[in-house]
């Protein structure tokens, strides 16, 4: 795959060649249930004419000219709805940006490693009921050209291992917890040594033993300390989505709040394009799939709502610069406004002190999935947490849900730690899935917890 012959059609057009390779190996209690490779390769074109977009894609080699003309015909077909042209931002990036990966592991190496992890867990943890070891890697390569002169190559590579341990509680009901080892690059870039795995499984099993005896959380508004790996989820779900300009145009409450205080002055939140403090992040986007040079977007600065994330079209609507957030997941997907590396920036408090200062509350450590809303009312599942009583950690709590108005919660933040934890283990869902990363420090606030 390389840059193709490209010609202009319509008021604006772009052409993308896109390759997506994935591998997935799932071992449950030593049984290899999935050993799968997938490889999707395709071309797509998008054209803009009189306020409408047309898109065309094919898995067969078709060429920029032919697909571009189909895309233009699709845009022209929409003229029956009326329409008027609005000029799009003119930024255009040229450059090639690959992720330098260490040599990857073969499937044979991975299966042997999965078996070793399974054997280790079986021999080490006497109450273990089930052990799942899932290995997944994926590689996204995109060549993007457009009529403004953009000519970019972007690569995103990541590898992940999910370690899922299940035990039974006193009523013989399953209780589970998961640990993720993952990051940018290939399996060769991860620390998958047995010493590291053993240490992580020991810690996970210790939490599982506590969770077997877990109690229900007290439902309602509670003081909570979010561990650093939860703050990223808060950033992404609670305020990230409502700051996507297409959601703002769709009616999100944030639309009327730019320049207003929506959070404690301890909160600064940024959607980072590719780097943080000089280090390249897990989802490095130097130019998006519209060929726009990607820039950091400060969503909240010292508690004040500042900017939104844009593609070319919403940038025009808001009279703002495009920010490089237009991203497509698969070869047949059109670019949508998506987050990249969204984080709450660290403060100065110490996590231990943040817990010690809580008389009655909860320390929340692990999350599953989350969901945002146009109202900024968010939720995410809590899979591991402990009571805090008089500044000390107490009993584990059963699975619960953290929710509330993100604005109310962020306004209640009274401590932000100096830690910074990054995570890129899941997918964001919004018509298409998307690889994103999220980061943050520990945060203390008040929020709704599901429970008794």
């Amino acid at each position: 795959m390389s840059f193709a012959d490209f010609s202009r059609v319509g008021e604006y057009n772009e052409f993308r060649q896109h390759e997506l390779r994935k591998r997935r190996l799932v071992m449950v209690d030593g049984n290899l249930m999935v050993n799968d490779n997938s490889h999707a390769l395709g071309e797509s074109a998008r054209a803009y004419q009189n306020g409408y977009w047309g898109f065309a894609s094919a898995t067969q080699p078709t060429g920029a000219d032919k697909l571009g003309n189909i895309a233009l015909a699709n845009a022209q077909a929409l003229q029956l709805f009326g329409g008027s042209s609005r000029p799009l931002p003119q930024q255009a990036h040229q450059g090639e940006h690959g992720v330098a990966c260490r040599p990857n592991w073969s499937s044979e190496q991975l299966i042997e490693w999965q078996q070793s992890v399974n054997d280790l867990a079986r021999s080490r943890y006497d109450k273990l009921a089930s052990m799942t070891v899932l290995a997944l890697d994926e590689y996204h390569d995109k060549f993007v050209q457009n009529s403004l002169g953009a000519r970019t190559y972007n690569n995103i590579s990541r590898a992940m291992v999910y370690l899922l341990m299940t035990v039974k509680d006193k009523d013989d009901k399953p209780v589970e917890l998961m640990q993720v080892i993952g990051g940018k690059g290939s399996f060769g870039d991860l620390d998958m040594s047995m010493a590291s795995v053993e240490a992580q499984l020991d810690e996970l099993y210790e939490h599982l033993m506590a969770k077997r005896e877990a109690v229900h959380a007290q439902g309602g508004l509670q003081s909570v300390v979010l561990a650093p790996n939860l703050a990223g989820m808060l950033a992404h779900e609670a305020m990230g989505h409502p700051c996507e300009a297409d959601l703002v145009l769709g009616g999100a409450v944030t639309g009327d709040m730019r320049g207003e205080r929506i959070a404690s002055d301890l909160i600064t939140m940024v959607d980072l394009a590719h780097s943080y403090e000089g280090q390249e992040l897990a989802v490095p986007v130097y130019a998006d799939d519209e060929g726009t040079p990607a820039q950091d977007v400060t969503l909240i600065k010292d508690g004040i709502l500042t900017d939104f994330m844009h593609n070319r079209e919403t940038a025009t609507a808001f009279d703002n610069p495009a920010t490089g957030n237009a991203r497509a997941y698969g070869p047949d997907d059109e670019p949508l406004i998506r987050m990249r590396n969204t984080a709450i920036l660290p403060g100065t408090s110490k996590l231990d002190d943040m817990i010690a200062d809580v008389e009655d509350g909860y320390y929340l450590m692990k999350t599953g999935n989350g969901q945002a809303d146009t109202t900024t009312e968010f939720m995410f599942g809590i899979n591991l947490g402990y009571e805090i009583k008089n500044g000390q950690l107490g009993r584990a709590i059963k699975d619960t849900t953290l929710s509330g108005s993100a604005i109310k919660m962020l306004q209640s933040v009274d401590a932000v730690s100096g830690d910074m934890h990054w995570d890129s283990s899941g997918y964001c869902g919004k018509k298409q899935p998307m690889v994103v990363s999220m980061g943050g420090p520990a945060i203390r606030a008040k929020a709704q917890l599901g429970g008794e």
């Binding site: 449950v28 209690d29 049984n31 290899l32 249930m33 999935v34 050993n35 799968d36 997938s38 490889h39 999707a40 390769l41 409408y52 047309g54 898109f55 065309a56 894609s57 094919a58 898995t59 067969q60 699709n74 845009a75 929409l78 709805f81 073969s106 044979e108 078996q115 089930s130 799942t132 299940t166 509680d169 399953p174 209780v175 439902g219 297409d246 145009l249 769709g250 009616g251 999100a252 409450v253 047949d332 059109e334 599953g368 999935n369 969901q371 809303d373 146009t374 109202t375 009312e377 939720m379 599942g381 899979n383 059963k398 699975d399 849900t401 108005s405 018509k431 599901g450 429970g451 008794e452």
Partner: protein
């Protein structure tokens, strides 16, 4: 396509594989998108894919690619030969035996004028009847998916399935504020003149415009919920996940030994819907799908392992497809709401995956307080806590009206004993 699939099958056996399954799909999609109350994008996509499962010496490997070029197929087979040697042996690996059929269903060509007309009618209904409702995103599309699936165990299947699909998501905004987002979607054989009359689209719009003014509940209480279809889907999703390979093979399913037991209220009957719009007559493993009653009057009739899972665990296999319907009850939705002393009408549950034992807590969205049989204010920041397995047992009533989403047909459910906070 069929000939090519068999040729690839021959190439796999020629390369030394004992058994194999080959599936080729060609899909053409025409899709119109609405964004922020305006038509925004027309998409046409042409996708080709080849999916292969191959077994050698009781070792299994799978792969998929988006090209049918000879050189690509040769590379796929070479990669499969390399990778299969790395897999552990398992007697349970096998391919579907002796299935056959050639199935054609649904509209075989796209009517782009009908798609445009449907979009026009939807935008008109929104602006005239629900002007404060904002369509954030809507896709109206036609898909024609042609597939052929063959195995070395004499399975020869092919299909051509056409369907229209509509997905809509939006929220309301007025001088009082913004509502939570709401959504619905499903498939059909033909687009209606008025989209608001199908898939509960008119209903979710009508509810949404009343959700810009919300209140929190004043105190915790235990009460009833009346679940609308999007929330009912969460219950069925959890149930079927408990009946599938992941939970069964790890021996963590709460229904591991429950076939024949009452796992739901006596009024609950859950069936598949192989005749539903967009549903293919056979599954991805290569088994034809017949009518299946999964829960019959509250009693669990079977588990739902894959063919591999059934052989691994030595339990019966059922090809069921992925869409489920609940038989209607006898009470009207209006009477169901009127029967609730204290609780909520719940449009959507926003929550993490329930725990393996069924425990969950979730935020109720697009929901209204029910007090003394009357629907009052829209709710915000309200959670319910319970156990999904217990909820199936605690179904008090099932509505006579059923919403048709193509594959799924779902009534409203009244369930008691949920904790509100």
């Amino acid at each position: 396509m069929h000939e090519q699939a068999n040729k690839i099958l021959q190439a796999l056996t020629g390369a030394g594989f004992d058994d194999a399954r080959v599936s080729i799909t060609e899909a053409d999609v025409n899709e119109l998108n609405i964004a922020h109350n305006h038509v925004s994008l027309m998409r046409t996509t042409q996708n080709q894919s080849l999916a292969v499962m191959a077994i050698k010496d009781k070792r299994r490997v799978t792969a998929s690619v988006s090209s049918l070029d000879e050189s690509v197929i040769e590379k796929v087979i070479a990669d499969l030969q390399r990778d299969v040697a790395t897999s552990p042996q398992d007697e349970a690996y096998a391919v579907a035996p002796g299935q056959s059929g050639d199935f054609t269903k649904g509209p075989q060509s796209v009517d782009r004028d009908a798609i445009a007309a449907a979009a026009k009618s939807l935008l008109q209904s929104r602006s005239e009847e629900f002007p404060s409702f904002q369509i954030e995103e809507c896709a109206i599309k036609h898909t024609l998916a042609k597939n052929t699936l063959v195995t070395t165990a004499d399975t020869q299947l092919s299909s051509s399935v056409g369907s229209y699909e509509v997905m809509i998501m939006g929220s309301s905004k007025d001088e009082h504020g913004s509502s939570s987002f709401t959504y619905t979607g499903g498939e059909m054989d033909a687009l209606p003149e008025r989209l608001t009359e199908v898939l509960d689209i008119g209903e979710i719009m009508a509810n949404s415009v009343q959700e810009t003014q919300t209140s929190m509940i004043k105190e915790k209480f235990t009460g009833d919920v009346v679940l609308m279809p999007m929330a009912v889907m969460d219950l069925i999703g959890w149930l079927t996940s408990q009946l599938g390979d992941g939970a069964l093979i790890s021996q963590t399913s709460v229904y591991q030994k429950s076939v024949g037991d009452m796992i739901g209220a006596p009024s609950l009957t859950i069936r598949n819907n192989p005749e539903g719009a967009g549903e293919r007559a056979y599954n991805g493993e290569g088994f034809t799908i017949g009518p299946v009653t999964l829960v019959d009057g509250g009693k669990l009739t079977r588990l739902l392992p894959t063919y591999y899972g059934s052989r691994k665990l030595d339990i019966p296999y059922t090809a069921s497809g992925g869409s489920w319907s609940i038989d209607p009850g006898s009470i009207s939705r209006a009477d169901m709401q009127a029967s609730v002393e204290r609780g909520a009408l719940v449009g959507r549950l926003s929550m993490g995956s329930p725990a393996p034992n069924g425990d969950f807590s979730g935020v109720i969205k697009n929901s209204f307080l029910l007090e003394n049989g009357v629907r009052t204010q829209a709710l915000t920041e309200t959670m319910i806590t319970g156990n999904v397995a217990q909820m199936l047992q605690d179904i008090q009533a099932i509505s006579a009206e059923v919403s048709d989403f193509g594959g799924s047909r779902l009534p409203w459910l009244k369930i008691s004993g949920l904790r509100f906070s």
